[in-house]
């Protein structure tokens, strides 16, 4: 008896999903993780563009930003044999085999946001120049500090190519500014609590800390908490990567002095444009760079424009 309820529910879900079943070419988009504002914004950009271009887009995402969570999703997408699959590979190596399998089944592959070590079967890699983002952050912090003071980096443990590139870019650019004393990088794994502890203990050791750069939004949110706790908000200049809602409001109320923002919506749009070109039979460049901007305090219009939000249904 209960079984019929389950079956009915399943059929109802089917009815809802079969509406998307049209003659339009099938495109699959696999995000890095469910529920992240960045990927929601990317999905929104892709949805709007897919509608415009007449593509039947199906979006899926794993529960965690991890290969073992994402591979079953990619396998399931492979079973549907879409014409083009745009994938955010959560691991540069572990995703090679399942994505190659997908390519062997005749699906054209596009990577977004993250890259993969073996790109021989990938039509184009849509990404931002993370090292350039790190350099922009170093320039911003140099301007904010008038060229002198102690600076800290809060980033993820080594292993994430994007985060590593941001840190390296920042460190390289910093060498141009002899007045800045670099205190090194501290690690937190998407954990604001840890970032807050790093900031308070760094302030104990280096009371003259003048600026910090966080390579992602979770680190920035935690860093602000730490600064508030230590009463150093505003005294220590903060430059943070990304434009999550919390970061944008912190920029507006003066807790953050500059944001290095990507444009996830544009990444989603470019992915769909690339898919449309691939269907037409066009060849694409091996990499397609999307934009990256510095948003300074006071520039609310730009901040609102770039804020990561999944504002579509």
């Amino acid at each position: 008896m209960k079984m019929t309820v389950g079956a009915a529910a399943a059929f109802a879900l089917l009815a809802a999903s079969s509406a998307a079943e049209a003659a339009d070419p099938a495109i699959a988009l696999v995000l890095g993780v469910k529920g992240s504002p960045f990927y929601q914004a990317l999905a929104c950009g892709a949805k709007a563009k897919a509608k415009e271009l007449g593509l039947a887009l199906t979006i899926s995402a794993p529960d965690q930003f991890a290969a073992d969570s994402q591979i079953p999703v990619v396998n399931a997408v492979a079973a549907t044999t879409p014409v083009v699959a745009a994938i955010v590979p959560t691991d540069a190596k572990a995703l090679i085999a399942p994505m190659k399998q997908l390519a062997d089944r005749g699906t054209k592959i596009v990577t977004i946001d993250q890259t993969i070590e073996d790109s021989s079967f990938v039509q184009t890699q849509i990404l931002t120049d993370n090292a350039q983002g790190g350099r922009l952050a170093a320039d911003a912090i140099n301007t904010l500090l008038d060229g002198k003071g102690e600076v800290l980096v809060i980033t993820q443990p080594p292993g994430s190519a994007a985060q590593d590139a941001r840190t390296t870019g920042f460190e390289e650019e910093l060498k141009k500014y002899p007045g800045i004393v670099y205190l090194g990088a501290q690690y937190q794994s998407d954990d604001p609590q840890k970032a807050a502890e790093i900031v308070t203990s760094t302030l104990s050791a280096h009371p003259k800390l003048a600026g910090l750069f966080s390579t992602n939004d979770q680190g920035a949110i935690g860093a602000l908490t730490g600064l508030r706790q230590a009463g150093a908000l505003g005294k220590v200049k903060v430059v943070a990567y990304d434009a999550a809602s919390a970061e944008v409001s912190a920029l507006k109320n003066g807790a953050i002095q500059a944001l290095i923002a990507q444009n996830p919506k544009q990444e989603g749009e470019v992915a769909m444009e690339s898919a449309a070109k691939l269907i037409k039979g066009d060849k694409l460049d091996k990499t397609t760079l999307t934009e990256i901007v510095t948003i300074k305090a006071g520039d609310t219009a730009t901040a609102d424009k770039y804020q990561y939000k999944g504002d579509c249904d």
Partner: protein
């Protein structure tokens, strides 16, 4: 309710059919699995029902199944093992590191090494031993120090991951022997993926040990009533250590399978494996209070969430609704099982 599987007279009261459905994991769960497969196959016969998809499903279940077999033993014995996922990560780091050092510098394509079967064998031994050591730590702390297993394994969950990060500085080891990836990770024996063959063998051996050996009977006895088991002359402490060592060792085996499949270690992954295995075990009709359970049920329990995810992605159900639907199906499945059991107890 926790004595059904232990004492002889109660077993005799069950009809052969009931015993059979109990072995199949509470019957209803098995029917649910068949129903899910039937629904998805009817809706998308060429996609869901394809040989490609079915073999993908089996491969995706393989690693989780090996972990879940260990978890079944632990939960039937009245314990819980939250550390399986990070013990897997730790064992994959130690074994990958040994294999990398033995095969020298990275060669071949995309960071695979030329290490031979000897290297892989040593790696396997190291992985199993690493897992067994963590299992022994869990077992001794639970049995001798009498710390609740939830706390012990939560502690070792963090420690195993921490040591894995210390050993590698947080960076995954990406050069593993090519033959491991080719022959085990993506290889097949007579058309069946090697990973699936390994998992099936583990489940089969696990079922035999649990249901047909003296050790298995003792596992049920310890989980039903520790004090009664002690009075019956069972060395409860030793059994508990052995059970956690078994779970840890299987996590070590799963570590090798994971390295073979992903061609890299996965420090950032496997964080939710503990909950996945526990929910698979419970879905399969094993009681969280110990004393009741079966490996066959666990096999079914492992497949249900994997088939749901796969079917939902193929049907194109939006990601957030997938999360909701998967959760609802899990609760529904266990609820039906409870109703069925209550009806049985009343009769």
């Amino acid at each position: 309710m926790s004595a059904t599987s232990l004492s002889e007279p109660e077993d005799e009261r069950l009809s052969p059919l009931e015993r059979w459905t109990q072995l199949l994991g509470g019957g209803w769960i098995f029917i649910l699995l068949i129903a899910l497969i039937a629904i998805f196959t009817t809706l998308r016969p060429e996609q869901f029902g394809s040989g490609f998809n079915l073999s993908m499903l089996a491969i995706n279940a393989a690693i989780l199944l090996v972990l879940s077999v260990g978890q079944t033993f632990v939960i039937i014995a009245g314990g819980i093992d939250l550390s399986v996922g990070t013990v897997l990560v730790f064992a994959s780091i130690t074994s990958a590191e040994i294999m990398l050092r033995m095969s020298g510098s990275a060669g071949g394509t995309y960071g695979t090494t030329q290490g031979g079967w000897g290297v892989v064998f040593v790696g396997l031994i190291v992985a199993l031993a690493s897992g067994a050591v963590w299992g022994a730590i869990n077992g001794v702390l639970v049995a001798a120090a009498r710390i609740p297993p939830l706390i012990v394994t939560l502690g070792t969950f963090g420690m195993a991951l921490g040591f894995a990060q210390i050993l590698t500085n947080g960076t995954d080891i990406r050069a593993v022997p090519e033959i491991l990836v080719d022959a085990i990770g993506s290889g097949a024996i007579a058309g069946a993926p090697v990973l699936v063959v390994i998992a099936a063998a583990v489940a089969l051996i696990g079922a035999v040990v649990l249901h047909l050996t003296r050790f298995g009977v003792h596992v049920f006895a310890v989980g039903s009533d520790k004090e009664a088991a002690r009075r019956a002359g069972i060395k409860v402490g030793r059994k508990l250590v052995a059970i956690y060592v078994l779970s840890g060792t299987l996590a070590g085996l799963a570590a090798m399978m994971s390295t073979a499949r992903f061609a890299t270690t996965t420090i950032g992954g496997h964080a939710m494996d503990n909950l996945s295995t526990i929910s698979a075990v419970v879905l399969g009709g094993t009681s969280l209070f110990g004393g009741i359970g079966s490996i066959a049920g666990t096999v079914v329990g492992v497949f249900i969430p994997i088939i749901l995810l796969n079917g939902f992605v193929i049907l194109g159900i939006p990601p957030f609704w997938q999360t909701v639907a998967t959760g609802a199906v899990l609760i529904l499945a266990v609820w039906i099982d409870q109703l069925k059991r209550r009806a049985r107890e009343r009769s």
